[in-house]
């Protein structure tokens, strides 16, 4: 097949964009593994920086994982019923509620964090615990679960299935757990992965809500960028990427499957 010059011009352009996205990431990987970044790769490769980062910052990794998992659980518990209600109601009130739910994402994170801090910061117990950060993460990630779950629910013939279950005598709670939830597993899975990814990387809210005792991974990253040497900061970034890239790959696989289902 003969390609026009326009095709190649666009291809080169897209490859340049790709280079802009990827070159810095590769530089960071390289810097985290070289003995001395200013000497270059010829100075030799080492895992020392990774070990050093792990020794200094591993608590932040564990706290971030704990936060991400708890956040996913909380968002599922409140988000899946909410998505069900929004799809089912589908009136002016539900659309207004959906709007309200998206607002914490649209608003600058710093403003939300400030609002939380000025309202609940006086409760020392809550302020000092990691639950304070969890609240912020749940607010921020809620729509990212509700949206895909709603999309899947709208595609399935849920009303028909539920009618059938109701006619056989299933109560509302039984219907929800045995008909609604199993039918939107794919949407829930996609939403959960997105929530975990976002929670692991959330910084704008977390920076305001954290205390020296509750440092998450991105907060630690910001610390290391400000104070540690370039190799340590890069090694730390490398650990973060190692955590987040598998999640992103899984997310892409699932959303590809979901969109295939949509076309079927």
């Amino acid at each position: 097949m003969k390609r026009s010059t326009l095709f190649f011009a666009q291809l080169v352009f897209t490859l340049l964009v790709c280079a802009f996205m990827l070159v810095p990431v590769l530089l960071s990987l390289l810097a985290g593994l070289t003995r001395n970044y200013f000497v270059g790769v010829s100075g030799g490769l080492t895992l020392d920086w990774l070990v050093q980062v792990w020794q200094a910052y591993s608590p932040t990794v564990w706290l971030s994982l704990q936060l991400a998992v708890s956040c996913a659980v909380c968002v599922c518990v409140i988000g899946v019923p909410a998505a069900y209600a929004l799809v089912r109601m589908n009136n002016r009130f539900s659309r207004a509620f959906e709007e309200l739910m998206v607002l914490p994402v649209a608003m600058p994170g710093l403003a939300s964090a400030l609002a939380l801090l000025l309202t609940y910061g006086q409760f020392g117990e809550l302020r000092r615990s990691w639950l304070f950060i969890l609240v912020g993460h749940v607010l921020f990630t809620l729509p990212f679960l509700v949206r895909p779950v709603m999309a899947v629910m709208q595609r399935q013939q849920l009303p028909t299935l539920e009618e059938a279950a109701a006619s056989l005598g299933a109560g509302p709670i039984k219907r929800f757990f045995s008909v609604v939830v199993p039918n939107c597993r794919a949407g829930i899975l996609a939403g959960v992965l997105m929530v975990v990814t976002l929670s692991l990387g959330e910084f704008n809210l977390t920076w305001m809500l954290h205390t020296p005792m509750t440092k998450t991974l991105p907060v630690g990253l910001a610390d290391s960028y400000a104070s540690a040497r370039l190799e340590v900061a890069s090694a730390y970034t490398l650990i973060f990427l190692l955590m987040i890239v598998p999640l992103l790959i899984a997310l892409q696989a699932i959303s590809a499957r979901l969109s295939r289902g949509e076309r079927r």
């Binding site: 666009q10 291809l11 352009f13 897209t14 964009v17 790709c18 802009f20 996205m21 990827l22 810095p24 530089l27 518990v77 409140i78 988000g79 909410a82 069900y84 209600a85 089912r88 109601m89 309200l100 998206v102 607002l103 649209a106 608003m107 600058p108 994170g109 710093l110 403003a111 939300s112 400030l114 609002a115 000025l118 309202t119 609940y120 609240v135 607010l139 809620l142 509700v146 949206r147 009303p159 056989l168 509302p172 990387g201 959330e202 910084f203 704008n204 920076w207 305001m208 991105p218 990253l221 910001a222 960028y225 400000a226 370039l230 987040i244 890239v245 999640l247 992103l248 790959i249 892409q252």
Partner: protein, 289 residues
């Protein structure tokens, strides 16, 4: 008993069933509503009220912000920067997105996957990547040394901020444009071509208007993210005069809660206004997020 209910259901119309199920549905919304009310609406109301308070017998927070050239300047700078980033991201992402959606070639899906990864990178990491690219020991510094004998360092300025915002805006635009291209009617383009329209005419008169709703809503999201992006600016240096950094400085360095609250409310209001305007322009078709 079951048969009786079944008969009753089969007689009643579908609409009645939906009505019957509705109260249960509203109950399912309660947990989410409670969380949003307690941890979002209430704090937001508190923030709005706090911004209007008078501190030490002085003016209210809003009045102080609106009277200060420094705060207004930072707001203007943030808006202009966000607008420029949005324009650039739409242009770059639009070209690449249409190309990736329309052409089939070897390695296309890999390219799409690579281009969309950075969507989930937090602002701090993006800031660090900009430093690696254009910082004191960055790639451009080395390149400038090689070519011109001087280090090209622009990471710690507005230019660095622009690069960082562009970095996390492009993947979003590419994804949106690719999705919007799927629903575009290709026969319109072929009709335009067969009527003798050149390539640019087709792009300007068929493709861009077709993509316009998606571009407007995606542009609004890019604008909103750039307005509130704190992590990138924080990594690149707190001397940058953009509003999120100004809020942070006012809050932590001067503990001036009223002005910090007022600035946050104004920043949030501007962002929200732009999102609403985009919604009005694009209609309901565009998705937020």
């Amino acid at each position: 008993m079951t048969t009786v209910r079944f008969n009753a259901l089969s007689v009643s119309s579908r609409r009645d069933i939906l009505h019957r199920l509705r109260p249960t549905a509203a109950w399912a919304l309660a947990p989410a509503a409670a969380v949003l009310l307690a941890f979002w609406l209430l704090p937001l109301a508190q923030l709005v009220v706090l911004g209007g308070q008078h501190r030490d017998g002085g003016d209210s927070g809003y009045w102080q912000v609106l009277n200060s050239a420094q705060y207004l300047g930072s707001l203007a700078q943030t808006c202009v920067l966000a607008a420029v980033v949005t324009g650039a991201a739409l242009l770059v992402g639009g070209i690449s997105g249409v190309f990736l959606a329309r052409q089939q070639f070897f390695g296309r899906s890999a390219l799409v996957a690579l281009l969309t990864f950075p969507l989930a990178f937090p602002g701090v990491v993006v800031g660090f990547l900009v430093i690696l690219l254009a910082g004191r020991q960055g790639l451009f510094a080395a390149l400038g040394m090689e070519l011109a004998g001087e280090r090209w360092v622009f990471a710690y300025s507005l230019m660095g901020l622009f690069l960082g915002y562009l970095y996390f805006s492009i993947p979003r635009v590419i994804l949106t444009v690719m999705a919007a291209c799927e629903s575009l009617d290709r026969s319109l383009e072929e009709a335009a071509r067969s009527l003798g329209a050149g390539h640019w005419r087709v792009v300007c008169d068929v493709i861009v208007p077709g993509l316009a709703p998606a571009l407007v809503s995606c542009g609004a999201i890019c604008f909103a993210t750039s307005m509130g992006a704190f992590g990138t600016a924080f990594t690149l240096g707190t001397r940058l005069n953009v509003t999120p950094v100004a809020i942070y400085n006012v809050f932590t360095n001067y503990a001036n809660f009223t002005v910090a609250a007022a600035l946050s409310v104004i920043l949030g209001a501007v962002t929200w206004a732009v999102l609403l305007l985009a919604r009005r322009l694009a209609g309901q078709s565009g998705t937020v997020l």
